[in-house]
Symmetry: C2
Subunit: 208 residues, 2 copies
Amino acid sequence: MGAVNGVKPPSERVQRKRGKRIQEILTAAAELFGERGYDAVSLEHVAERLDVTKGSLYYYFSSKDELGTAAIETLGDEWTARLEQLLDRTEGTPGDRLRALIHEHVTIAVNDYPAALRLFLMPREWPSAQRERIKELRLRHDALFRALVEEGLTSGEFTVTSVDTVLQCMHAAMSQAPTWCGELPSAARGKAVDEVADTLMALVHIGP
Amino acid sequence: MGAVNGVKPPSERVQRKRGKRIQEILTAAAELFGERGYDAVSLEHVAERLDVTKGSLYYYFSSKDELGTAAIETLGDEWTARLEQLLDRTEGTPGDRLRALIHEHVTIAVNDYPAALRLFLMPREWPSAQRERIKELRLRHDALFRALVEEGLTSGEFTVTSVDTVLQCMHAAMSQAPTWCGELPSAARGKAVDEVADTLMALVHIGP
DNA sequence: ACAAAATTTGACTCTCAAGTCAAGAGTTGA
DNA sequence: TCAACTCTTGACTTGAGAGTCAAATTTTGT
């Protein structure tokens, strides 16, 4: 126990600095992955956006997959946070709130992370360790929707065959939205997003 | 006009043979692409499945993208044909038939082409010529669903906010289904597919 | 049987991106 | 100031997969 560890840990300040740097990298990577998808983004791209060279990234992350999962986690956190904020400022019945949540989710997907589909819904084979983290991430994200759906079921406002299935379908449609809303002129986009929200509310048997 | 063409065309039999060979290649390629996705399949894989070498494929197709789009077209044809057959043997209201169609589509996706999502729904940048063909393909496929939905609307059985949006959402969910139904033990799979069909029928405001 | 045409081969080039690493530049703390 | 540590660089290796092509093999028509 009392054995002296041969290496001394870096000072706290240095560690904080390192943490910050890592966050910068993760943010840049998350943006790129969200815009273009994991496979389409090379580490050189990420490095370029940060004005450094690829080698630096390997000083912080031991592989692209490791950077990838960590970045996706950052992206997921950011996304979930925005949805939570929305819920905080939205009043009303479960139906009202679910509609708002769907609307916000699609808006984020369309505007900021059009390639999110490829990140979260894909059967891509990650190294198993990192698979777990991504799964958790999706669960946390899912939980927001699930909670509302269950609330609406309890209150009798909603009707569903299977909560799981409804959530899967909802997610699939929402994540897919960028590929058809993205092409629209921005004038039509708002309307398209509204229609998606209205349409998906039908999954819990609420009509517009 | 009467100018003699310097090259003689191959005999009809030879041409038929060539056509057959091309179909063999396209079928093998379509299967692989449907199973694993375009990017994950190399021409060596395709060649291997056919017990030839990559070079042969270039004798028939000038690039991977060309083979790719042609193969996807084959896959789409096959898929559409199966759906049409199903409709031929299914009687009932538009609601009954739409449910059957959804069920069949998901079944095909789950069993045969789990990676179809990556082929049809992806914003991947194909060379523009080939983009058009893929778009047409989707339209034809879409038309089956659209016709039924419109029939149901006319008869007053269905209600929707936007036909387009309903169809997009439906497709997104159906194509996504393999990623969550695929993992299930085959016993549970049938039930899962049923639930997807029931759930998606809600999009046209028909409950189970 | 045989020449011409169709097909297949396998070795080749090219490119791109992942990953490595020794050497250099910048920072820290005594 | 200076030694130790942290970070960055850029040149390097490696591997995979697209695409090329002359030569070999097989098929065809006469």
